[in-house]
Amino acid sequence: MTPVLEAKGLGKRYGRRRALTDCDLSIPQGRVIGLVGPNGAGKSTLLQLACGLIKPSSGTINVLGSRPGTSAAQLAKVGFVAQDTPVYANLSVADHLRMGARLNPAWDEQLAQRRISQIGLDLGQKAGRMSGGQRAQLALTIAVAKRPELLIFDEPAAALDPLARHGFLENLMEFIVDLGASAILSSHALSDVERVCDYLIVLADSRVQVAGDVTELLQNHHRLSGAKNELASLPPGFEVVHADHTLSGSSVIVRTDGAPPVGPWKVEDIDLEVLVLAYMTRASLPTARTVSKPLEARR
């Protein structure tokens, strides 16, 4: 089966600034993929590359088997809701639906109408006068009613208050189930991702830190705690993601490909938040970058 997204050595730079570096990904279909990372980590860049809004500076990216944004057939397969959910301020809700219907051969008018009435949007209202939440819902409706195979959301809930956020994510999940589509959504808030995603990509410092099925990730990562000298010499085959040394003892987060290492330390499972934080912390340390990747010439 074609991967929903496949990237090889993917990179994007704006002038001298690297927005995304050396990104290798292969994501299976039918997943809800969460893309997390701090602000400026390259999340938007990756998503815009995936829907063809921008072109890579290096490497390749294929979405559902072909280059993003190159043909109408490819555009029909991908629904994208950009950050801050742009809509035409001087067009009404009905105009937006008409636009969707005219510009998308596979447009599902019934679905669109049903969602609009469910959300309680007035068809005659101008998009410029709607709240952030309503705008996001409208943008989501347009993206979904074209019946794509992949939905991409860039920080869909960023502008919403907690209640609207909850409703929006719920709607989003219903859509994904309705369509049987894959979805990628980025967020800097892990809680959003935790609720809806079964596949996780951690992006920090313009690089993919870790990517994989959420269940597998949780199985493959452990926290070892014990005395500092005991943890200083781990057997080979285990990658230390993050180490935390305090006076009372040390704890390290390790990645394994099977059972956790046996030793005089205590082994615990970790939750997603700890895992994500461990990788993001590692990326933010200037020296830690070399732990798992060979040193690259910078600039």
Binding site: L53, A72, P86, G100
Partner: protein, 329 residues
Amino acid sequence: MIWMTWRQFRTQAVLGIAVLVLLAIYMVVLGEQIRHSYNTDAAQCAKGSCAGVLSEFTSQYNLQVDVLGYALIVVPGIIGMFWGVPLITRELESGTHRLVWNQTVTRGKWLAVKLGFVGLVSMAFTGLYSLLLTWAASPIDAVNDNRFSPLVFDARNIVPLAYGAFAFMLGMTFGLFIRKTVPAMAAALVLFAVVQGVMPTMVRPNYVTPVSQTVALTKAEVGSLSFFGAYGTVGGVSVPGGPWIVSTSDVLDSSGKDVGHTSWWSYCVNVASPAQLPECVSKENVHVDVTLQPASRYWSFQWMETGIFALFAAVLAGLCFWRVRSRLA
């Protein structure tokens, strides 16, 4: 996509149509008035004393016709600013390009429809305006015999069509590359003005090599000149047949010597009364050398000018497609 383009362009289009309708009504009325006066004057002319009647006829309508002509020269600039520039920048500034580029329409097609639709409307606007003005002013132009002179040439027949296309594409291109409405508007207007200044003064005279001719300053010729310089320069030389006078030499005597520093010239220009001037100058048997584009070249110049501006517009359109396809985020 056509629907979408129309929906976004609707307000501006309605405004444009309203302006054009008002102008059309005015020009039709003016054209009828001009024809009426012309027929009356021509009838009187047939009975004798023609010159005074015709000059009265042209001076009666010159102002209106000139203003309409200048407006037609300015209109493409306005179209570029208010139709060309916002077509793209409005999307880029509000981020809606990220919405529309993810519908099932490739960017190339999106641009082609917008550019084609609004571009054709722009050309239709300047084209219809020009058609009406050319018709309304034709008796005046015939009497003035000056349709080849730059300001009249620019506002008649087919060239305004190409100016419309060019100015629209200029606005669109600046919008696409500058990405901000107001700076792009300013840049488009400035460059359009520069091109419209440079073309008729420096480029158009050389489409075909001008013809040289000697014009004797007879009493009648001196009487029709519009300018006398203190040192032998004159302006407003007219040659029968309506050619475009491209350049005029200083006043020369029969041996080809410049007369600008002779005492008789300074006497004629500075001391003699305007009524005595033609007699004063013409009795010295002097002439000027001019270069001119014969009136017979009028249509080939119209076509060449149109072709050049159409080429500019096509190059700009190519730039827009390249930009939208390959570089923009």
